[in-house]
Amino acid sequence: MAHFTKATSIKDWLNQRLAIEKVEKVMASEYWIPKNINFLWAMGMVLVITFTFLLVSGIFLLMYYQPNVDLAFDSVNYTIMREVDFGWLWRNVHGVAASVVFLIIYIHMFTAIYYGSYKKGREMIWISGMLLFVAFSAEAFSGYMLPWGQMSYWAGMVITNLFSGGSLHADGLVEWIRGDYVPAQAFLSRFFMLHVLLIPVAILGLIGLHFGALRIPHVNNQDGEEIDFDKESKKYLAGDKAGSKVIRFANDFMSKDMLVVAIYLVFFFYLVFYHYGFAMDPVNFDPANGLKTPTHIYPEWYFLWSYEILRPFSTNIGLMAFAFAQVIFMMLPFLDRSPNTVPASRRGLFKYWFWAMLIDMIILTAMGKVPPIEPFGTIGFYAALTFIGLWIALPIITMFEKKA
């Protein structure tokens, strides 16, 4: 057993038992961050804040929500929106945060792709990040079921149908997932459980993994510079703060993080109070009705690109393309054959690949929402082919990339 002495202060008492000074050093004051990073590196903190909003608002909503097909709709739209003090505020925060969190995730992802932050020891950061993306997607989808409106019901129907696997006709699997032939009480109860328990727990675990994965390789920087963290941190501690290439996480980087967070919050709360409609689809304010199919069924905006990869093809090919789209991002560190960990602007053809991928995904997103009438059907079809083509091209163009 360790040796304990009479504590001289509360801090000392805690220090003997929890080593709080050491923890503070490891987590904050001597957690070294490169100095040459821009505001895009604050997206992690923005995500933490947004996730916290989701968690806290979700806890409040959970106190009044009723996971019952007869009560769910009114428990949200009447009880929470009208009866509960500030229930509307929690709902708007939850709904807007659920949508905006994906915008930030996409920015965060494309930042990593642009700066090559998934290579040279950072593969696990990327993979754990993509697992988080999957978990957030499942969380968003299950949450979308809960108000039990028309879009909840019909999106639930369409998406669970995908598991029949086209001509595999795995209808048994679909029924197993739904717990019924159609989305009904069993379906709502289990998606409720997934939304408030299993997936959040998984997300918390994955966040831990994601942060842990950052420790050893450190975060990347905007110039693709390889930094000797030991040497630079010594320089910093010796007092040459201006000359050192690294800064403390707290308060140095934290102060910048907070500035970005503050600016983000202005945007966020503007949406919460004045422009929340995009995050809560009007169609979902009609109660679920299994006898009345809505004219247009579409997922939330952040799923549209992958939905559009499914849609323009025949059922089986569409499903294969869809499955491809779901896993391919995860493979990025291994498909990019170039040893260069530098910004895309210095990487030859990859530079064009990056912008083409970004624009193609935006086109897919737009085409995923509009009905597949011409010319949108054709545009969507070629955008989906382009997506697949770009991924096939990636190993080839990066193999021939010159050393930067």
Binding site: N38, R82, K241, V261, V266, F273, D286
Partner: protein, 315 residues
């Protein structure tokens, strides 16, 4: 090294807005028909040419016009000849109380309605000679004098007994114009009136049964039960509801929902009623929103000062 952050921010904002534009305004413009309001002018209906005489109008409404044979005018002490459920059994729907009709309906529309209800209401497609059905409210064929004058008199009378525009509440407007067909459960409104608080379960069940009976007749008459409008302000939005009410046929060809003929002020009151029901906390949202925005901007200023302070030594 040059500061690239403004450029990066511009790129992020550009792609975000482009995506937003494509999935929201653009996609919705493709998915939904859009009609502009004509300001509830009812241009297809002829203008009233005669100046109405209130006293003469009163006689007609009570007498030759036979209006009170079917409609209540409770503000004048005239109760409905039948209760709502029985009336719905005869007509399919309970004829509305006319106390507020002069304030809710457009005058030109009332004029056209009395002369030919199905035409003014744009439901002639349901009452063709082949269908064998006739509209439950009869056309007024005149009381022996100048027909245009007689109708103008009745309209003048209805306007004279109606509350002034500023006394017309949202609930009055809604009940007169929409309440006989649409329930609004969030406001406790049923087609046969506001649901009272019952102490005894039995009384409540009896009330519910009357509502169900009424709805049976209504659904048979309309071909479908008109939807509960509790949060239609969220599912359809103000613009849609207004232009839909102004002319339901332009959105849903052949629909049983009549053009109810409300005037522009009453339409605003109906919208306000639907907002009270489906967007109850909008005023609170405005005021809380303002305070939160002020707070966050102050927070952002402090964040900026802190960053400057910390980074002074780092450059």
């Amino acid at each position: 090294m040059k500061n690239k952050e403004p450029l990066i921010l511009a790129v992020v904002v550009f792609f975000t807005l482009a995506t937003y534009y494509l999935v929201e305004p653009f996609a919705h413009s493709i998915m939904h028909k859009h009609f502009e309001s004509e300001g509830f002018a009812y241009k297809d209906l002829p203008a009233i040419t005669k100046k109405g005489n209130v006293a003469r109008g009163k006689e007609l409404v009570m007498g030759a016009g036979a209006c009170t044979g079917c409609h209540a005018i409770t503000s004048q002490g005239l109760e409905a000849p039948m209760n709502a459920v029985t009336a719905a059994r005869s007509y399919g729907v309970n004829p509305p109380d006319l106390s507020n009709a002069g304030a809710v309906y457009d005058a030109k529309f009332l004029d056209a309605l009395i002369k030919n209800p199905a035409h003014a209401l744009m439901v002639e497609h349901k009452f063709t000679p082949e269908s064998g059905k006739s509209y439950p409210m009869p056309k007024f064929y005149g009381a022996g004098g100048n027909m245009d004058q007689e109708v103008a008199d009745m309209v003048a009378y209805l306007q004279s007994i109606a509350p002034k525009a500023d006394k017309l509440t949202p609930a009055m407007a809604f009940e007169t114009a929409c309440g006989r067909c649409h329930a609004v459960r969030y406001e406790k409104w049923t087609q046969i009136g506001e649901k009272p608080e019952y102490k005894k379960k039995r009384d409540e069940l009896e009330f519910n049964i009357r509502v169900l009976d009424y709805q049976d007749s209504l659904a048979k008459y309309m071909g479908t039960l008109p939807p509960d409008l509790s949060i239609y302000i969220r599912s359809r939005g103000e613009h849609y509801i207004k232009t839909f009410v102004e002319n339901p046929q332009q959105y849903l060809k052949g629909t049983a929902m009549p053009r109810v003929g409300v005037n522009a002020e009453a339409a605003d009151k109906v919208i306000e009623y639907l907002e009270d029901s489906g967007d109850t906390k909008r005023h609170e949202r405005e005021s809380v929103g303002k305070n939160v925005m002020i707070y966050i901007i102050i927070f952002a200023i402090f964040a900026l000062l802190w960053k400057r302070e910390v980074w002074r030594d780092l450059h």
